[in-house]
Symmetry: C2
Subunit: 607 residues, 2 copies
């Protein structure tokens, strides 16, 4: 291997790898050969083989010491070079879709992930993925030393109404019923405490069907851990020791040990948030790490609709001194045993001591609006399990991707996963999600809704525009459901967004299009067009009329065979932009071209 | 912890754990206390606390040396006992659903897995799950020492038409499209070789929607491994060294080292199979392990319909000396680079050197019946990836559950997984698969087929029987689709199976019931009932008429409002049995009771 050659001066070696760069000097060429252990310079007569970057080759040659002046201090093998005797091309590389000698950050994501196997050859990605393997191993070894058992919990599990949205898996043996993929192994790890394992961990894959962001993919991995016969500080101590050990083994420096512990109240007062970066600008530049624990969170908070919801985890125990008040009905001001680990301003993980008292658990679920029946149906198995000698227990979950991002300074989860999904949920390299056969659906007892027709509405529009020889621009972006979000992801202004609404005018569906930042003046519209009754369509009606989901309807009445009314003020835009039948696709075009094709009735009816 | 007490004679210790057993001696009671490190005897005055088996307790007391005569050599702490000073009951246990002091093999599976958290307290299960953690760690440490990188590959991936049946996951962002859960990371690990990782492994969760057996669950875990710049023997050697090292560290003895290598042809000639146990009866009794490699398998075999299919893996390379013949069209007799590891008569794993030549890969897929278009659509991304400097590579997969089963002698995969599915695909402890909300289905763009009504056909029947005060017996079993399989899982004979067929008599649906081992004599039936045209319903028609899937139709015409004809010979059974609307549920009842409720037209029309 290339990593060994510096110790083999004078010897003939055989190396396999990839050509990284090639520099021609007449008949002689200099190649950089790369394998998993590093880079080395090859000196070769061109007659041996005409290799190009990224060809996979096997080279035999003699290791020579470089003259003092030629030493390259930038690579580990810079004191030597290989004088090639034979070069065998194992496999040629055709032209690459993007260069590999940059950090790759500026490459379009779709292209980058389509050719992820090439992107991963990049030095930065090789380091990140190898570091991840190392970090997870260090975590495991620390926990094994502390007598933890690693236990795998199921991927096919039960759908729960808590937390985020579940990914569902239709059951073939019980058509019409579904498994859910786990958002976390929370319940299983608590059951493992009931089972007497006392110290459990897992490097657990978790799945959440949430809209994607830079720091959130459909899949992430977490260190999931639970301990019996412990109090809050026991879990915090073991995690603190573990994190410290991993960071320091990897050469990191930690600003303050032991980690400061701050109450939620103090954190809000002092930093305005429960995540904060304790480092000075200089410490940040030096790559120093700062950790802190935040504790004493309120157990409950109010959601948008003013209803109580848990702030972190419904299975947590309230603080001992608040239990009585909570059981008596107090909600505001009840604190939880939750602890969050903050790392360089990010939430690196969180956990709590769990409630093992059925009265408290029931009260928690009642507080967040569950009926007794719902509690029994959703969590009856947990309450039952706790009736067989449950040990006091608590645990934590730390995001592995977040851990790597904090270590490396990467800001996208995609840069610390081997094969992430694109922002629109497409898999790397392979074309999924994709259509499946009718037989597969039949076996699972499901059929597709009519609205899947929407995938072709986009095609209908582009066909219409192409046939009319109109120039337009398409966007592929994350799913958006409001004019505001749409403008944001497209980086357009709201006024040029053509908002297409389905309305019922005296019982008949029509399409009304207004600028994205404006509203239909119902009264004005009725007067203008002599309509007695005008109302918005329901989302079901929108689907019925257009086969398109609400929020993705394009401003073409003719595609759906309904009359089209466009507000005058849309003409204030030279170009307009709109969702083209899908929440993830937009089209931009000249307003005049739009009118040419869509042939609307134009009037003034906005406010 | 209990494991430490033998070194603490005379000291006061505090121990937390579970009461394993209790023996009363008047005012004194002897308790066995259990924690994750072992058992110890507690001597306690009953006045301290009235504890019962499986209560979770904290006990403080003094460690005393036992008199010579009282030493218990069966437990590690048998030389001491604890004289209790305080006993705190942390959590009481209500009556257990089954005993924990047996090996638990005779307990009904549904009950056992419903209370899996108790079943896991059992000594045998604790050992198996802890051993699993240890084995996987030993595997990992061996591979890290050999410079492998552990890399996670995605769970949400593409459905492929190869191998077993995929579990599907509906996409919310692209309604109507589906991800598939991975049957193995085969393609990703090969892409990691293209990416230049050279030595990859993963302890990978794999999912297959197959009918369940003792040695197969929906989920299993495999050591998945791939290496670049290797030949067959390189992979075999590293795996052989790894397996040897793990088995021997755990105290096992291996019959023959290095492992014998046998060709498929010789194995069939000598043992009649490609899996064989090389041990004598005595070696088996001693727990000695025997391994062997099987190589030189035929690449292709004929399926039931006489079509060529690959014997192991379509991505494998044919043996070098067979490539030309294969490319020229030969199929029979072409050998693959596949290697299988046989352990005590079981297939412990298998792998191969992969084909990196697009011509060969294309020929393989053509041979198994794919068109050029299908190959491009399904595997185009792999062929593309191989055009960018692909290294020669090969790998292997070893089942972790099989590894544990071979080590422990367990015969069910469920005994080496923490939370397995039941044989009917139900999750441990939690009630899944289960119904999901209409909103969830709506978001995913799917609807349930009408046939999900079937879940209530079972209820229709039991209600009907209950109201008629009839005694009957129900079976829950794995899904069956033929009379033969049904008889097998129910342990009934075929003749007493009431096979209900939907037929069309002169265009109208009727139900015809015959004994499971007999057929309708169409001609006889037509003559008997003066029918001109009689034909079997299609599966769609069966669904339409009964809302029940073909193969699960119960013999009650009245439930579906159609006429019912029963063959005379069904009366030869005192009791009859039938699938009750679902493939996984059967009902058994007296034939006379059946006629009382179903009110059939009885005649002779079988052959």
């Amino acid at each position: 291997m290339i990593g060994d050659v510096v110790n083999k001066i004078g010897e003939t070696v055989s190396l396999s790898g990839w050509i990284s760069t090639r520099r021609d000097h007449g008949k002689i060429m200099f190649l950089d050969l790369r394998d998993r252990t590093g880079l080395v310079q090859i000196v070769s007569n061109k007659s041996l083989a005409d290799t190009k970057p990224e060809d996979c080759v096997e080279i035999t040659g003699v290791v020579k010491k470089r003259p003092e002046a030629m030493i390259n201090t930038k690579i580990a093998t810079g004191t030597v070079e290989i004088e090639a005797q034979t070069i065998t091309i194992l496999s040629k590389a055709t032209e690459l879709p993007f260069p590999l000698d940059t950090d790759g950050r500026d490459i379009n994501e779709e292209i980058k992930l389509k050719y992820r196997y090439l992107d991963l050859r990049r030095d930065r990605m090789q380091k990140n993925i190898r570091l991840r393997s190392k970090v997870v191993d260090l975590i495991r070894q620390y926990l094994f030393k502390n007598e933890f058992t690693e236990i795998e919990t199921p991927l096919l599990t039960k759908s729960t109404p808590e937390g985020s949205r579940d990914f569902l898996v239709p059951s073939r043996m019980q058509p019409g019923n579904f498994y859910a993929l786990p958002q976390s192994p929370q319940q299983y790890k608590q059951l493992l405490m009931v089972a007497g394992f006392e110290r459990y961990f897992q490097i657990a894959r978790c799945l959440r069907d949430e809209d994607l962001r830079a720091d959130r993919g459909f899949e992430h991995t977490q260190l999931d851990l639970e301990m019996s016969f412990v109090e809050r500080e026991d879990v915090m101590n073991i995690i603190e020791e573990m994190v410290t050990s991993v960071v320091e083994i990897l050469g990191g420096t930690i600003k303050q040990k032991p980690f400061p512990v701050i109450s939620y109240k103090d954190a809000i007062a002092k930093y305005g948030a429960d995540k904060f970066d304790l480092r000075s600008e200089e410490e940040k530049k030096k790559g120093i790490h700062a950790f802190a624990w935040v504790v004493d969170f309120p157990f409950f908070e109010k959601d948008k609709e003013g209803k109580w919801t848990y702030s972190h985890n419904p299975f947590s125990d309230p603080k001992q001194e608040h239990k009585d008040a909570f059981l008596k009905g107090q909600v505001e001001g009840i604190l939880t045993t939750q602890y969050d680990l903050v790392w360089n301003g990010y939430e690196a993980g969180g956990g709590s001591i769990r409630s093992t008292d059925p009265a408290i658990l029931t009260k928690v679920f009642e507080t967040i609006g569950h009926t007794k029946e719902q509690i029994e149906k959703q969590f009856g198995h947990m309450l039952k399990a706790f009736s067989y000698g449950v040990p006091p227990h608590g645990g934590i979950a730390l995001g592995i991707e977040r851990f790597l991002m904090c270590l490396t300074g990467e800001t996208s989860i995609k840069d610390v996963q081997a094969f992430p999904q694109t922002s629109s949920g497409q898999t790397s390299v392979m074309d999924a999600p994709s259509a499946v056969s009718d037989e597969q659906l039949m076996e699972l007892g499901i059929t597709l809704r009519k609205r899947v027709k929407q995938t072709s509405v986009f095609k209908d529009i582009t066909t219409l525009l192409d046939e009319s020889h109109i120039t337009y621009k398409t966007y592929q972006h994350e799913a958006v459901f409001t004019s505001q979000d749409a403008a944001k992801v497209r980086n357009t202004n709201m006024h040029q967004g053509a908002k297409a609404l389905i309305m019922y005018a005296d019982g008949n569906p029509i399409m009304v299009v207004v600028p994205g930042d404006m509203k239909v003046d119902t009264k004005g519209f009725k007067e203008l067009y002599q309509v007695r009754d005008l109302r918005m369509a329901t989302s079901e009606e929108v689907e019925q009329v257009t086969c398109v989901l609400i929020g993705a309807v394009p401003p073409f009445g003719n595609i759906f065979q309904i009359p089209l009314y466009v507000d005058q003020r849309l003409r204030e835009n030279e170009e307009i932009v709109f969702n083209a039948g899908e929440h993830t696709k937009s089209i931009q075009m000249k307003e005049t071209d739009f009118e040419k094709v869509a042939k609307p009735i134009v009037g003034e009816f906005t406010k």
